[in-house]
């Protein structure tokens, strides 16, 4: 007899069971929701405005929850995958502004580790697997998913959330560069919406800091329904992500360190460094003076740069060559820089005393925070240390200038139909034979790289996140302006692709002079176009056949970070892999040893844990999400309502909808006799101590989980 129970719905399991309608209504009186409600009332007719506001309240009631944090409690950690964003309701939080290696992330233990089974746990599961296939507790009576990790939308580890508190907060604040976010400030939204890792660690500054956490599904809907919120989020993306991205990209490692800048620095020609070296403009601002204790300091603005999105920029003052200025101590100078930064609202303020050689001070403030961060650098005297520090500052200034001139473009859609289509219908990003008008950096998504030969366009390679295109051509033209070359390849978007385009002139000015001659790409030899193209098409790519590359791109497998590749020349079809998977998953394997085959390699129907998981886009409850620490795409079973949106969205057909059953083996059905389904798929054995059981179980090393975003990974395995 089937068990009849109501069908699960989106908000059956609100993010916070205790969030009432009244609490949600109270939140509407606080920023930023207050501003959004005001916008709706001003810009919409009364009836739609009220409906929109009601909608906002419903989102807050169902997709948000209230958190109270202790002083020093880590709210989110650099490197964790984001499934939600936060709003500061009262108190403040601190963002650690240093890079992942230097920032707190590396030293603080992971906060929400999924509970992996230990050795004996993994042994015990063999006997404790459920007796009934796809048995579940009755809907609604099941666990609503406790603990913060579950609330984050990840697979539930149970109610075992243990907050991590920073022990010596004053020391942390002393040692690290941090920025403060106060009431009404939002953080974590970029990682949540992009389903990417967090870029900074954030902790609560005082006891009782109140935060509102919103899961990304709610955030996405609010962003869609409230245009001012969209603009706000998009602008912050430029502010927050771009610079980090540029800093992490190898080409920009030496920006601000060219032979010419070094010469100017040696000669004390500060204006040349600032104006010609790192691209600032001459300032038209009036000189100003500042009182520091008993002394008054004259400050002459000599150079400045605009920020982007109308936000703060950079300004450089020369400290007048007065007695007072010369006598200022380091502490007073730091105070001067801090105050200037706050008064001018600039992102960066640089002060250097005229005629004092290498005495520089500066302050870099983060955008959108209530007060500028601490003095970023200060150095007096000469030597290698001084040069390094000044160059770090110059690099920051140059990067900001590059960032300002960088264009954002996105192509294609996160859309199954587009991915299923072929080369002709993939949107063109840049075209072979066109002038290289900039260095293209792929931020997200997969890009097909193709080449025309006799009018036939063939895929030759592909680019994943972090890869760039066009540097070879730009570098060639920079060195040989008399023999310019055009772009050698066409790039097309496979699915949704985010790119940055840094104009050629900017590259030629800031980047190329900073790359050592030996590291520059080789110049193009004058060869027949057809010969080059033919070599490009027919040569193998590190051992991977070009037709294989074409296959991976055509089928969009390049999206997979852990695709299951099976070498059919070695696979004995023993199904040990399938049995191992079943053993780890209640005797029901989470993949099928079947799938598209090319050149003796099968890409099996197992979730590939995509770079851009289409399955996550429409999930109404957030049941399918990235696991926080490792980024696998996993399904939180209790909150899955079986709507099959993920299964329909997954281009690769890697999600199975299963009928659930009671402990007695009866199928659950609703009042209309429709079965209750749950989505199931490979979770990359996220709870297994040894990692993917399928890979470990293969006796012939015929099966490997491979990140196909980079063809070298496949090449390494094929060549084994």
């Amino acid at each position: 007899m089937p068990a009849v129970t109501p069908r699960p719905k989106r908000w059956d399991h609100p993010f916070d069971e205790s969030m009432s309608e009244e609490k949600a209504a109270d939140l509407l009186a606080l920023e930023p929701w207050k501003g959004l409600a005001a916008w709706a009332r001003e810009d919409l007719k009364p009836a739609p405005a009220e409906a929109r506001i009601k909608d906002l309240r419903r989102h807050l009631q169902n997709d948000a929850r209230l958190l109270t944090c202790a002083e020093g409690e880590i709210v989110l950690r650099v490197g964790d995958y984001g499934n939600s964003a936060f709003v500061v309701l009262s108190g403040s939080v601190r963002v650690v502004l240093e890079s992942a290696e230097r920032g707190l992330g590396a030293t603080v233990e992971r906060k929400f580790d999924l509970r992996r089974r230990g050795f004996f746990g993994s042994l015990a599961q063999i006997w404790s697997n459920r007796k009934i296939v796809e048995e579940r507790p009755p809907p609604r009576d099941g666990p609503a998913g406790g603990g913060r990790a579950a609330a984050e939308g990840g697979p539930s580890p149970g109610d075992d959330y243990v907050p991590i508190i920073l022990g010596d907060l004053p020391a942390v604040l002393d040692e690290r560069r941090t920025a403060r976010i106060t009431e009404g400030g939002i953080f974590g939204e970029i990682a949540a919406l992009g389903r990417t890792p967090r870029t900074a660690t954030i902790f609560a500054e005082g006891d009782g800091t109140r935060l509102l956490e919103i899961r990304w599904q709610g955030l996405r809907d609010i962003r869609r329904k409230f245009p001012p919120f969209k603009t706000y989020v998009d602008d912050r993306f430029r502010e927050r992500v771009l610079l980090q991205y540029l800093r992490a990209t190898p080409f920009f490692q030496h920006v601000g360190d060219t032979p010419e800048i070094r010469r100017w620095l040696e000669a004390g020609q500060v204006t040349e460094v600032l104006l010609d070296g790192v691209g600032l403009r001459a300032s038209d601002l009036e000189p100003t003076s500042m009182k520091l204790g008993p002394q008054t300091v004259e400050l002459v603005p000599i150079a400045r740069a605009r920020g982007w999105s109308g936000s703060a920029g950079i300004i450089v003052y020369r400290c007048d060559e007065s007695e007072a200025g010369a006598q200022l101590g380091l502490g007073a100078r730091a105070e001067m820089v801090r105050r200037l930064c706050a008064e001018t609202g600039r992102k960066a303020v640089v002060v250097y005393p005229h005629g004092k050689g290498r005495l520089w001070q500066w302050c870099l403030a983060e955008p959108d925070v209530a007060e500028p961060s601490d003095v970023y650098g200060c150095h007096e005297g000469g030597g290698a240390g001084a040069d390094e520090l000044i160059q770090r500052l110059l690099r920051e200034i140059a990067l900001q200038e590059i960032g300002r001139q960088t264009d954002f473009h996105s192509y294609g859609e996160v859309d199954k139909t587009q991915l299923a289509a072929g080369i002709d219908t993939d949107p063109v990003i840049v075209e072979q034979g066109h002038y290289p008008d900039g260095l293209l950096l792929v931020r997200a998504g997969a890009v097909r790289m193709s080449r025309r030969l006799n009018r036939l366009e063939r895929t030759v390679s592909y680019l994943g996140p972090g890869k760039s295109h066009g540097l070879a051509e730009i570098a060639h033209n920079w060195r040989h302006p008399d023999k310019p070359v055009n772009l050698q390849h066409t790039l097309r978007a496979r699915g949704y692709v985010d790119t940055l385009l840094i104009p050629t002139a900017v590259i030629a000015r800031f980047v190329l002079p900073s790359i050592p001659e030996d590291d520059l790409p080789p110049i193009f030899e004058p060869e027949e176009e057809a010969v080059l193209a033919s070599a490009d098409i027919h040569e193998s790519l590190g051992g991977v056949d070009r037709s294989m590359v074409e296959f991976l791109v055509d089928k969009a497998f390049v999206n997979g970070t852990a695709a299951m590749v099976i070498d059919l020349d070695r696979c004995t079809r023993c199904d040990d892999c399938v049995r191992a998977c079943a053993q780890g998953h209640d005797d029901n394997p989470r993949f099928i040893r079947h799938g598209p085959v090319h050149a003796g390699f099968m890409i099996a129907n197992a979730c590939m844990h995509c770079n851009d998981p289409m399955c996550m886009i429409g999930c109404p409850t957030g049941a399918i999400s990235r696991e926080m620490t490792t980024g696998q795409v996993a399904i939180n079973d209790p909150t899955c309502i079986g709507c099959a949106t993920c299964a329909t969205n997954c281009t690769y057909d890697n999600i199975r909808m299963v009928n659930t059953r009671s402990q007695k083996g009866a199928f659950y059905i609703d009042a209309q006799s429709m079965p209750h389904m749950k989505a199931t798929k490979c979770d990359l054995c996220v709870t297994q101590i040894g990692g993917p059981a399928c890979e470990r179980a293969c006796p012939h090393n015929a099966l490997k989980r491979i990140d196909l975003a980079n063809v070298d990974n496949l090449a390494g395995w094929v060549r084994r």
Binding site: F119, S122, L123, Q125, I126, L568, D569, R570, C571, T572, R573, C574, D576, R579, A580, Q583, G584, R593, H594, V597, G600, M602, C685, Q688, I689, G690, A693, E695, R696, A697, C698, P699, H700, N701, A702, R719, R720
Partner: protein, 273 residues
């Protein structure tokens, strides 16, 4: 040099060195029937137990006990060493006594099935990869059933389309039986191709007698026959890959039992020698 080749070279060298060491040690013993037999005997027991542990590892697939591929490498090389050890243990003579003879036969059978399994697991997969579509073994009968149904439909269609019973009769006489169930297992395993050639010949002959209306229908039928052959090929070879295991493992269990009996007997009647 690929990594696989380097690994084989390394493991092969270690194996050769181990065998050489064993033989050298054995040659230096004064009484080849006393001390060396006890040492090699216990070594052999340990070795057989270790080899049998691999199937335990396979059963505990999710437990982190090292990858199955690493275990298999050890299994193969230690198994090869075991052959020499076994012969040495017997003093390079044929065994005497019933228990010892049964044990020796079992050892030979386990070793032979193991080497046979190793051989087929290296030889068959590339052949499977190059023949027809990849298909899951258990699904082959269902696919064959579908093909047979489609062939039946084509034969019936041919009667109405061409107003001739020729194709339908040929189908009933020559093809229906072949298409109805998996066939030619041995042919496909041993690669004879006799039945295939006979069928091809009969079909080619028959095709020459057909009119222009009938030829396309018959070609479609021929295509189904080829696909059926591919499915048979996969069924036969995948079956071999699966079922050799069912020879190797029970024999191993028997070997373990007889080894235990042998140890008891040697201790009871041989004074623990």
């Amino acid at each position: 040099m690929t990594r696989v080749f380097a690994r084989r070279l390394r493991n092969g060298s270690i194996l050769v060195a181990a065998i050489a060491g064993l033989l050298l040690w054995y040659g230096r013993q004064d009484d080849p029937l006393d001390q060396p037999q006890r040492v090699t005997g216990w070594l052999l027991v340990a070795l057989v137990a270790f080899l049998a542990l691999y199937s335990v590892r396979k059963k505990l697939a999710v437990v982190p006990l090292g990858s199955s591929a690493t275990w298999l490498q050890w299994h193969v090389y230690i198994g090869l060493f075991g052959i020499v050890l076994f012969v040495t243990h017997n003093g390079w003579h044929a065994p005497t006594g019933t228990l010892e003879s049964v044990l020796a036969v079992l050892f030979v059978l386990v070793t032979a099935s193991g080497l046979g399994g190793l051989h087929v697991s290296r030889r068959i997969p590339p052949r499977l990869a190059r023949r027809g579509e990849e298909v899951i073994y258990e699904r082959v009968p269902a696919f064959i059933h579908r093909l047979a149904g489609r062939a039946q439909e084509l034969a019936l269609e041919s009667v109405t389309k061409t107003r001739s019973r020729a194709i339908a009769d040929f189908h009933a006489a020559e093809l229906a039986g072949f298409l109805a169930r998996p066939t030619d297992r041995l042919e496909h395993i041993l690669g004879w191709g006799t039945a295939h050639r006979r069928r091809e010949h009969a079909m080619a002959e028959f095709r020459t007698c057909l009119g222009p209306e009938e030829t396309p229908v018959f070609d479609a039928l021929t295509d189904l026959v080829r696909r059926k052959e591919d499915l048979d090929f996969h069924r036969a070879n995948q079956g071999l890959l699966k079922y050799w295991f069912f020879v190797h493992v029970p024999l191993t269990h028997a070997l373990l039992l007889f080894t235990a009996a042998h140890v008891v007997v040697v201790h009871a009647f041989g004074g623990g020698r």
